[in-house]
């Protein structure tokens, strides 16, 4: 397969177009702007619509409208912009619509900074908007995975009729790596049973709605959705287990941080320390089975993140607090170094 050299942001855009995305609505923000710029250049040639909305809130509501008609629709932003989109994401979830939302994270809270961060983990996995709902959340760690998970996000969003998010960061968005594009079949799902598209009165109206004034009706719709979530938790988790079979200390990291941690794990191994890496590729659902498999022989776990430790609780819950879970992180746009992580491995290794 041909290898192209692309920025993560451009690869996200190209993969979305190849996955049959017909509508992109965005608003510029560093460090994801190349994605929207690429869409502006390519989308009309690919027979789709690129529109720079007047705001992030407008963009996400345009996604809601486009998704209602059954076409594949996407928006992208970075942390502060994603917060603005949260209302629309909740409406999309409440309307059972498929859509893809990309967050190329930067430091927060507030306007924060523009350097890479992972401090939107809680927002993505717990509460991107009000109400009982979840997003599928994918955490790529390379430019190739940016492509692979955009394709998968569109597919699963259609399959389960729910929004899916790619949670990336400024480092992955800005870096270039070789990337190949797989063959993609974007038309696998029949949406004719619910899509609100033109039909010349040939059938009954399809109504897209998230308002239920009768509590028992609303409750029923939510319970139905949670039945799907149970299936997703059973079948959609993905993780990479690296040198975990015999590890004493299990490092846990996702996205760009996992690359730094992998370098540190390799150095630790060279020095005779049995370190391993658990890398969740799906953040929701969290890979519970996989982390228990990875941690089976470990004496301690160490979560490494570009945040103040937002994944730690999920790790503790997943392993039922059966082992100590330590934390090391940098935040605000600072990227941890392999040397810092190695020092933490040694600090914890010393107490085993």
């Amino acid at each position: 397969m041909e290898r192209n050299l692309m920025k993560g942001n451009e690869a996200l855009a190209e993969a979305a177009i190849r996955a049959g995305c017909k509508c992109f609505f965005g608003y510029p923000i560093t460090p994801q702007t190349e994605l929207a710029a690429y869409m502006a250049k390519r989308m009309h040639k690919a027979g789709g619509v690129f529109l720079q909305a007047e705001s992030e809130i407008a963009a996400i509501n345009m996604v809601l409208g486009a998704a209602s008609t059954g076409v594949r629709a996407m928006t992208s932003s970075s942390s502060p912009g994603i917060s603005l989109k949260s209302e629309g994401v909740s409406y999309i979830a409440g309307s059972d619509l498929p859509a893809v939302i990309i967050n190329v994270e930067r430091g927060g809270p507030g306007l924060g900074g523009i350097q890479p961060s992972q401090a939107d983990y809680w927002q993505a996995t717990k509460a991107l908007g009000h109400g009982d709902f979840q997003l599928l959340v994918y955490a790529p760690a390379s430019v190739q995975e940016m492509v692979d998970y955009v394709v998968k996000a569109f597919d699963r969003a259609d399959k389960y009729r729910m929004p899916a998010m790619i949670l990336a960061d400024g480092l992955l968005g800005q870096m270039m790596e070789p990337v190949s594009f797989p063959e993609i079949n974007p038309d696998a799902y029949d949406k004719s049973g619910w899509a609100a598209n033109g039909h010349n009165n040939a059938r009954d109206h399809h109504i897209i709605n998230s308002l239920y004034l009768q509590p028992d009706e609303l409750e029923r719709s939510i319970i139905d959705r949670y039945k799907r979530y149970e299936i997703i938790k059973e079948t959609e988790t993905e993780a990479e287990l690296y040198l975990t079979e015999d590890c004493d200390i299990l490092l846990c990291a996702f996205g760009a941080t996992a690359r730094v941690v992998k370098s540190a794990v390799n150095t630790a191994r060279e020095q005779g320390i049995k370190a391993g890496l658990f890398r969740p590729k799906t953040l929701w659902p969290f890979p519970v089975k996989e982390i228990n498999e990875a941690a089976k022989n470990a004496k301690a776990l160490l979560s490494v993140e570009m945040s103040m430790g937002q994944m730690v609780d999920d790790i503790k819950l997943a392993i039922n607090c059966s082992k100590p879970v330590e934390f090391f992180g940098r935040t605000g746009g600072v990227i941890p170094t392999p040397a810092e992580v190695l020092a933490e491995i040694k600090r914890i290794g010393g107490t085993l």
């Binding site: 460090p31 400024g170 480092l171 800005q174 870096m175 270039m176 992998k262 990227i335 170094t337 040397a339």
Partner: protein, 177 residues
Amino acid sequence: MATTEILLAGFGGQGILFAGKILAYCGLMDNKELSWLPSYGPEMRGGTCNCSVCISDEPIGSPLVLTPDILVVMNQPSFDKFVKDVKPGGKVFFDSTMIEASTDRTDIELYGIPSQQMADDNALKGGSNIILLGKLLKETEICSLDTMKKAIEKVVPPKKAALIPNNYKAIELGMNA
């Protein structure tokens, strides 16, 4: 081959990211694993700018180069900032028109050529970065001349294809400097 970590640094506008891209494409042409990571944000707009390139036979871990094997540097602040980070045995390529190489390190190899002056003398406006790449090509095992020529063809945008021979000339000047 272990991973070769390269850091390129200078002022915004000197072609730091462009030179990094050429090295990245050299890796692509030779079917290696590679990564290219720019500094982004306010630095790009007139301040100092840098770019990390990793080329390896193995998958790349962290793409951020903190301790380069090779440093390509085009201004004094970047030389002063990064020369201490170069790995022992590492190589530093710098523009001696712009930089006074004051360092007490004796465990690294310094290759200073007046690339800016050479570019001016040869009517190669903006070619200082590529002249330094020519010197790098000569003094390291990074890739062949043929590979670098192919990389240049890839990186120069089609609209500016007329400038490709100038880039070849700049490489040659650097190799012979």
